[in-house]
């Protein structure tokens, strides 16, 4: 295990702890403690990360934001992986027209900036609940995943063990399910881990544009949006969610790299 991997695992452990245990031990993230004298307090023993403009405890909000930000990212990646798997498998396993059509779809999906699609979609829908937000985020992330799986499927279709299964008379669907899919999983796992970083960045960015979870929910991007105007007065309000975001995305990138080295030693 390299230093980088250890570092990534450490970050992941910390963030998981924050998301799972944080909200249990920390106070109510939406409680306004003292609007008169308690706003924009710098970090102290009472408030580890200080308080925000509403005198709410920033640590509590960071912890409950971890659940939102990590949760949305994981759901989004799961949705993207599922869609990508279905489309990618179909594109790789089918022949002729359908295969070409699906390949085209994947290429187009890759060529369109995801942020543009998301902006058009979210601004047209209006305010969305968290689950729908995660779903939309995932539904725009499938092309990269699909391309990967299509490639893997094409490679595995002609592998010896698949040919053997086919020779034994296994139906094509069963071959896809039992032989090809498991073989395609390692790169999917790598891509999904890296995809979590992308999804988190997108979630934060869209929340930063005011398209994310409505207040008083504490997503990290939303916290950044709220604190932007008071950055010079209360820098901890930006640093806390900003560093958390960097930690989470770095962890995902480092672990993705590590997984790649472990699962696909031959890949570049």
């Amino acid at each position: 295990m390299t230093t980088q991997t250890k570092f990534g695992l450490g970050l992941l452990a910390l963030l998981t702890l924050l998301a799972v245990v944080g909200p249990l031990v920390a106070a109510d993230p939406n409680a306004q403690r003292d609007l008169l004298n308690g706003t924009l307090q710098p970090p102290s023993l009472a408030h580890l990360l200080g308080t925000d403009e509403f005198s709410r405890d920033v640590f509590s909000r960071l912890a409950s934001g971890a659940r939102i930000s990590l949760g949305v990212a994981v759901v989004a990646v799961a949705v993207a992986a599922f869609l990508g798997m279905v489309i990618g498998l179909a594109a790789g396993a089918s022949d002729g027209g359908l295969s070409g059509l699906l390949r085209r779809c994947i290429d187009i999906g890759l060529a369109v900036p995801r942020i543009v699609v998301l902006l058009v979609l979210l601004s047209a829908i209006g305010t969305v609940p968290m689950w729908l937000f995660a779903l939309v985020l995932g539904a725009t992330g499938w092309p990269a995943m699909a391309r990967l799986i299509r490639g893997e499927t094409l490679r595995l279709r002609h592998a010896q063990f698949v040919a053997a299964a086919r020779a034994l008379g296994a139906p094509e669907v069963r071959i896809l399910w039992r032989e090809i899919l498991p073989g395609a999983l390692p790169p999917v796992l790598v891509a999904a881990t890296l995809g979590v970083a992308d999804a988190m960045l997108l979630e934060a960015g869209l929340s930063f544009l005011g398209l994310g979870a409505p207040p008083p929910a504490a997503s990290w991007g939303g916290m950044l949006l709220e604190s932007r105007s008071v950055m010079a007065v209360a820098p901890w309000l930006v640093l806390a969610p900003g560093l958390a975001l960097v930690a989470a995305t770095s962890a995902a990138t480092l672990l993705g790299d590590a997984l790649r080295r472990r699962l696909q030693p031959d890949a570049k």
């Binding site: 060529a111 942020i115 960015g205 544009l209 932007r228 950055m231 900003g242």
Partner: protein, 322 residues
């Protein structure tokens, strides 16, 4: 030539399908598509009727989308709801600042990013390369808007070295010397450009390093090294060119990412381009404007990758006639 035609048709088709999909999405959203376009603004029946006609929302889906495409071809992007002006006019006004910022980012990313990637592949064990590698992980993980906020805070508000926002100082006297104007442009460019570059350079850097690392272990490089060819010459002759190949594939990935960066960075620095326009239009739920800006960004990304492809083929003779 045949290649160019095919590649061009390819790019065109991709852009077309993407635009159609966006239009279909807007028309298919739950609720009346006209209501989505109007976005709850106060409108009288006459305006509503005019909007319904110009967007074709009173027709079946295929006809409405066809209508929109036909209008796009004529350069008619509809009318922005928040400003009551043609979307096309607004987009044109915003085009060149985006081209300037995006073009410079591209230039720096692809010169410095590739050079650093190559250098770090040639010195994989040096501490500088390790630091560089770590920094790019952070750079990739750091959202552009957080980076931009920190840079503004430090360099514009704390040290007061650079202006916090805007394209140039419009209050400069008209007879200001060329140097003063150049300096003004550069100081206004510094922060947004730095943010854009830092947020995007990780992609070409990592790609180039990986490619060059793979090339560095190829027999012909080892042979060259054994012959005692100078490292710089090896780098140029043997690693640089072969490693360029994946760059073209990379562009497809990297240009959309540039657009994402542009939305946040332009908004943050009040850069009057397409990116900040789409952010503002999103905030005011101006669907015709969001859609128009989206269409333009898609076309720009396609045109950009086509152009890069073309240049690459001109530079690399081995790619010709394929």
């Amino acid at each position: 030539m045949r290649w160019l035609l095919r590649r061009g048709a390819d790019a065109f088709l991709t852009a077309l399908v993407a635009v159609v999909l966006l239009a279909v999405v807007v028309h298919l959203l739950p609720g009346d598509p006209l209501a989505v376009i109007i976005g709850d603004r106060e409108t009288d029946p006459a305006t509503r009727a005019a909007l319904a006609a110009s967007w074709g929302t009173d027709r079946p889906l295929y006809s409405a989308v066809g209508h929109y495409l036909a209008a796009l071809v004529r350069g008619d992007f509809g009318v922005a709801m928040s400003e009551n002006r043609p979307v096309a006019t607004i987009l044109l006004e915003r085009l060149w600042p985006t081209m300037l910022l995006g073009g410079l980012t591209l230039l720096i990313d692809f010169t410095c990013g590739l050079a650093l990637g190559l250098w770090s592949a040639l010195h994989p064990e040096s501490w500088r390369a390790r630091v560089l590698g770590g920094l790019t992980v952070v750079g990739y993980a750091l959202p552009s808007f957080v980076l931009g906020m920190v840079l503004v805070w430090l360099f514009a508000l704390e040290f007061r070295w650079l202006p916090p926002a805007g394209l140039l100082d419009q209050t400069l006297p008209l007879d200001a010397s060329l140097w003063v104007r150049m300096a003004d442009r550069l100081t206004h460019l510094a922060l947004p450009l730095a943010t854009m570059v830092l947020a995007t350079i990780a992609v070409p850097f990592r790609q180039q390093r990986a490619a060059a690392l793979a090339t560095a272990t190829q027999p012909w490089v080892l042979a060259a090294r054994a012959r005692g060819v100078a490292p710089a010459a090896i780098a140029w002759r043997h690693c640089w060119r072969p490693a360029l190949t994946p760059i073209v594939t990379l562009l497809g990935l990297w240009l959309p990412m540039l657009v994402g960066g542009a939305v946040f960075v332009e908004m943050l620095f009040d850069w009057p381009g397409i990116g900040s326009l789409i952010a503002q239009a999103t905030a005011s739920r101006d669907i015709p404007l969001v859609l128009g800006a989206g269409v333009l960004l898609i076309v720009m990304v396609q045109a950009g990758s086509l152009l890069a492809d073309l240049l690459y083929r001109l530079v690399d003779p081995t790619q010709r006639d394929r």
